[in-house]
Subunit: 268 residues, 4 copies
Amino acid sequence: MRLFAGCEMSLQATEPCPTVAMLRPRSGLAQWLASESYHFDPPLRPTEYVDSYGNLCQRFTIQPGALRIRWSAIVETDDVIAVAPQALATPVGALPDDALQFLLQSRYCPSDKMTAQAQQIAGGFAPGYAQVEAIRAWIHRTIAYQYGVSNETTDAIDTLNANAGVCRDFSHVGISLCRALRIPARMVVGYLYQLDPMDLHAWFEAYLDGRWYTFDATQNEPRAGRIVVAYGRDAADVAFISNYGALTTTALNAWVQLDNGQGLAGAG
Amino acid sequence: MRLFAGCEMSLQATEPCPTVAMLRPRSGLAQWLASESYHFDPPLRPTEYVDSYGNLCQRFTIQPGALRIRWSAIVETDDVIAVAPQALATPVGALPDDALQFLLQSRYCPSDKMTAQAQQIAGGFAPGYAQVEAIRAWIHRTIAYQYGVSNETTDAIDTLNANAGVCRDFSHVGISLCRALRIPARMVVGYLYQLDPMDLHAWFEAYLDGRWYTFDATQNEPRAGRIVVAYGRDAADVAFISNYGALTTTALNAWVQLDNGQGLAGAG
Amino acid sequence: MRLFAGCEMSLQATEPCPTVAMLRPRSGLAQWLASESYHFDPPLRPTEYVDSYGNLCQRFTIQPGALRIRWSAIVETDDVIAVAPQALATPVGALPDDALQFLLQSRYCPSDKMTAQAQQIAGGFAPGYAQVEAIRAWIHRTIAYQYGVSNETTDAIDTLNANAGVCRDFSHVGISLCRALRIPARMVVGYLYQLDPMDLHAWFEAYLDGRWYTFDATQNEPRAGRIVVAYGRDAADVAFISNYGALTTTALNAWVQLDNGQGLAGAG
Amino acid sequence: MRLFAGCEMSLQATEPCPTVAMLRPRSGLAQWLASESYHFDPPLRPTEYVDSYGNLCQRFTIQPGALRIRWSAIVETDDVIAVAPQALATPVGALPDDALQFLLQSRYCPSDKMTAQAQQIAGGFAPGYAQVEAIRAWIHRTIAYQYGVSNETTDAIDTLNANAGVCRDFSHVGISLCRALRIPARMVVGYLYQLDPMDLHAWFEAYLDGRWYTFDATQNEPRAGRIVVAYGRDAADVAFISNYGALTTTALNAWVQLDNGQGLAGAG
């Protein structure tokens, strides 16, 4: 599937504001960036580095006043998403070294406090994909998708208590419950074709039987058309914008369309 | 200073228990390992990998029954510890890329909720070393050093509420308050010569004016004689033992002595 | 300086040909990619990884027949290039760890055999920038820029013997002579604005007084307007195309222009 | 197999001599370091870093005069070595990303010039283990093991011309011929139990059918009892001592024995 995706942010700073943005996906196994444009108005020149998860991070300082950021790309991504109901959990002793960090508790995923709940929801299923799918379905069924209930400090237990949240919160609950069952799970932020309402999105992946599988508790069923912007342990690692100074988002618009073959210029 | 340090753990498993240990320090800028011994009884053969912080991690599966682990080393470490009351904070925009991760909130350091408290404690000091020292001194003065109040799920806010904790908890509070002031801070676990009572220890480091400085809220004043075993964002990253199965620690003994020149065999 | 640069290659394979391409620059300290397009005709979907030098590498298999690859981008790069005639060599003992590998002899830079020559050319200059500039100027003055003398197996000693070569060969000689003087030096491949005749280009960098400086023995004087595609020890590390099967390049066209403000679509 | 191994070097410097040593093996899949001692006389305090291959590198400056370095360890290593005559070559397109660098030509392994020879020696065998074994056996049969023929500048082609060399040269020839056949191959330096005459040793590994296999052209048949000190593309990457100043080795002694159970102190 060839998608034209992007976002446009209008930001307002009242002081010089050092910022780390994670808006540029990497080409990799999951996707191929055929064209890309990353524009600042007024112009500025970021630097870029790779974090410990392999994500591209753009660093720049926003000057007082308005800044508009527009990122867009044409991306080749998978038409179908892998689903493997029979896949068994990889025993912890056989996990690859770099999957082990995704078993650990983290800021928004205090899995160390959630073992009982994880057992209750998924303990009756075969260890592996069936458990993760049981968790995903339970979240989708049980927790209300609702804006305004959660904020930047909300963790998975807060969401369970509120019984409501958004994609970020759903992911944190899913990740926490997987880790409580000793299944490595990681946060993914990016784009989903035909997400409704369209927005920047978050979901999670679980490591099972030798590879990562995608799970999205906001959706009824497995859906492809995903563009991965960043991976991390939870939302602390993968904020689209981390600002170290006062910064207001005055507008945010995201889009994902089938590519119409006219390139970035014609696409929008 | 040439130290003979080590620990001995007696563990008891009731099921095969995949385990990741972080007991082996790395030689580096902070220290030089002159001799080392890492012994398992009954014998087993671990593998080892380097995590994303550069720590050495030993992987092995503990079989049901008893396991005794004994690690010891003779380590060259600094005689004096750097203290720089005038050092200013490095502005976020000028931090090295790999220090940025230590500004982020983490499992036991929910710095995103602690800005007001950080301002209250250290807001009146010059941004930099003076603030971190104000935080360290405040913790030392205010929070009671007490066993049994905290456990593995206790985060920095829990510790502030309880007003009591141990070295791990003190470190989490210090790290959280630094990050809330936009000063990168990281957890350190290791050994401290003449720690009283002797035990495995934890402290923190803050990145100021181009380098990391050591702070230890459990101590009256800056103390050298430290052996670093591992660095991380907080205790989730640097557990001495992470076990994925039921495991009981039946005995734990740690020691740090001046090396008597007889090597590992004669040292104990 | 805002440049529109790119290349177009026509390739012909007679068998399925696994290929690693290094055509996509990274945003970093040296440059910022504002827009980019990477096109294959017929279409194919590469994967991408980062090599040990931080370069982006695209992997794909070319099917028998013709393949056209077209990469282009709009890149912000420096208007002026750093020149520091007084900069001293960093003593080997004070080099950063990751610069040490650029002291080692490598396939096309057998610096272990070139100490006498390096001393002869640059021994009379102050250790540092003056030596590297003496080397660069000597190459520019002495070695004829000439196509057809060298090929893919030509190393720096071959070039000294032939007394002729192209940008790749000039770089290998420069790198080898620097290393022979214990100055870290690395190969750079990329684009240079107003290179005449226009082509994909190669030059080298030397590590002096705490940073990397650019040197280009094909040019009369320091010139900015550079886009870095990849860094390595020598040409073995940074081939634009590494093919593991029979592959013919039937056409190659490269360009660098000042951006006309119309974006990638209008730029060409 | 539990081995007590080590080496002792006596060095003589006439000027301050920055040095990088690779004498300390890492615990990993291949081996487990149970005890270790790394001693300098007169005492000095190195720093240590990990190079891009994962090797531990010790940095220090040797002062004018004599220095004795003694490294020893008790190491658990494999009793048998994997042999897989039927293993097929992994097609280049299916190699893991980080194996690709071991296909490239390098300083002592100019595989780009050795395709014809590789085809002649191994072209008639099934692509994979059989080819590498044919290469290994050909070297063992054809090239004389002889000290004094080669030196630090000798590459694989030099060795083929001289028809004589030592373990390092044999390895370079083996690696070059493998790469010429598109089989990733890497240099290994370390210790071999019952090597005769005992010395620091070098051999090579080839990547086949999803893993690395050991080959040693100095031996009649596959032999276990190996301790790996470092991996690299060739000898340029894995010198036991890289000195940047005049340095003479006045004595070198290496040993490998079965561990007698008395630890490092009793072992010697």
